[in-house]
């Protein structure tokens, strides 16, 4: 038994340095990772531990150029995420990771990039925006198509607009239900994809959101002529260990904590529509 082997299950303590309320139920927290920097690929996740409550998988949503600052955007939905969202600067969380596969930011070079995200699905693609911005000259047009339930549920809105302005991203937002603050489009995010004028033969598409959303996004992308091996998605499953040992994240032969969450459509397509796999 080696110390390295123990590390797979055992978290590293990291203090919370800041917390930003993003929406009514969602916060972004930054952890001080200077003692054990978390070098990650955009799309990877950690297991975050709230003292006494447990661990859950949460995507890293910060800038990959800053492994000493570990950033997560967390939506409060239950037993562990509620206390995670309630942490305050100064408190300490446990962290394991990074785990899983990442988005194809290198493969996407020399072409257009289309990111389609819905709801909290924006969190795992936020590092992609940082990565693209850091080497903006390597990419052609960058499309960022975002959907949310209501304007109040839109994550990172100001930051996205700032990014889009500074780095020339084509940002399009839509909501399912408008209110009087909203003068943008209303409807599903697939509509934004229909309207986006990119060259499907030169585009890499990355999508993250509810499975039903990704199903329609992929269908539309294929219809427009994006090849299956240029379409990437992120799969969400129950995860208890993130190291391929607990069995919870299995999807066919995949342990999604290791061969996912991000995967290419041609790897997913044969079973994506098999219900309850």
């Amino acid at each position: 038994m080696t110390a390295a082997a123990l590390d797979l299950w055992r978290p590293v303590p990291m203090p919370v340095v800041s917390k930003v309320q993003e929406t009514a139920d969602t916060v972004t927290i930054e952890l001080d990772a200077r003692d054990s920097p978390v070098r990650f690929a955009p799309g990877q996740f950690t297991m975050l531990y709230a003292f006494g409550h447990g661990e859950v998988p949460i995507s890293i949503s910060g800038d990959p150029a800053h492994p000493e600052r570990l950033v997560h955007t967390i939506r409060a939905v239950g037993r562990v995420t509620n206390p995670l969202v309630a942490v305050e600067p100064g408190q300490v969380l446990g962290v394991r990771g990074p785990f899983g596969t990442g988005w194809p930011v290198h493969d996407a070079e020399d072409g257009e990039v289309v990111v389609v995200a819905g709801g909290i699905g924006l969190a795992p693609v936020r590092p992609v925006f940082h990565a693209l911005a850091a080497h903006r000259e390597r990419y052609e047009r960058v499309w960022v198509l975002v959907g949310a339930r209501t304007p109040a549920d839109l994550l990172y809105r100001e930051e996205l607009e700032r990014f889009a302005g500074a780095h020339g991203f084509d940002l399009r937002l839509t909501v399912d239900h408008a209110d009087d603050t909203w003068d943008g489009p209303v409807g599903v995010v697939t509509r934004l994809l229909e309207a986006a004028d990119f060259d499907p033969s030169r585009a890499t598409l990355m999508t993250c959101g509810p499975e039903i959303m990704m199903r329609f996004v992929v269908r539309e992308a294929l219809r427009q002529g994006v090849p299956a091996e240029k379409i990437w998605l992120s799969m969400e499953r129950n995860m208890k260990c993130a190291i391929g040992l607990c069995g919870h994240c299995q999807w066919g032969a995949d342990f999604l904590c290791r061969t996912g969450p991000v995967m290419r459509w041609d790897h997913a397509m044969h079973r994506f529509d098999v219900g309850g796999l």
Binding site: R10, P13, G78, H248
Partner: protein, 362 residues
Amino acid sequence: MSRYRLDPHDLDRLLERLQEGGRVLIGPRLRDGAIVLDRIRSTADLPRGLTTVTAPGRQHLLDRADDALFGYEVGPDAAKRWLHPPRVELWRARKDEGGELFFEGTDEPPKYAFIGLRACDLAAIGIQDAVFLRPGITDPTYAARRADVRIVAVQCGASAATCFCASMGTGPRVDRGADLTLTEVLDGEPHFVVEVGSEEGEALIEGLPVKPVASTAPEEAAARAAAHQERQMPGDVRASLLNALESPAWDDVAARCLACGNCTLVCPTCFCTTVEDTTTLAGDAVHARRWDTCFDQGFTDLHGHAVREGVAQRYRQWLTHKLSTWHDQFDTSGCVGCGRCITWCPAGIDLVEEARRIGGSG
């Protein structure tokens, strides 16, 4: 492999040897009307003169006419219960006054020796090795228990009606994975034929009153056991089940399956776990893992719903994982043909028959 003859009253010498250095000896013993694996100290703890009658959904004990110590078929327990325990603490978290968090390991497992494991049990340990000792992913609790075990296997001389190890290529002959293998010979003057399978095995019998012997009893016993086996896993099962993912045939077994998870608990290769977080009176937080089963609906919980909502979907996970996707993951089947899941299924569901029916094999 060298072979020796061991007199039944000298078996206790071997059991003592196995416990030297504080090693905890795990072997068959009678408890609550079943033969389980548990701590034993001497041959007095072994289930003497008993045999089993096994069928889908049941196993009964009967008296034998002789004093056989290993004259029964596999019971519900396998080495898994000890090498991959039902519950184990992974770590404790402690918070000091300043709010600092500390994560501390608490696992201090004993060293184990096993006696009475069968060929299927050894094959199952090989499969769990592949799961828990992968390059780059070593499970420390398993590794610590597994590292220095001693295994004395028993060669089966009879098969249960639920056994099908021959068709899985894992038995009934014990041909790997044991330090020593005992074949219990009851004809004529009762004795054991001891086969040595490793250097550790050689060390275990050194100085014991054994005599070299030329005997074919192990092969004869294995041939007898193999001849009993009628159940046969279809050879094309890996592909046929994957081609049947959306077959309505899963609904038929789902109507009989109680989703109790007994099959995954008795299965010697199933490895799934969940974690439990609790706090002690002293204020420490305990992070423990315990066996879980893909038959539990909560196994695939996402916020507000489960991915495998129906029993048909959960039975499909079990069968396709064991017989199909396990090959992709670990380069082996996940089934050793021990038949436990058939014997301990309260509904008597037979995975071989289901695999044949659902996969559409002849």
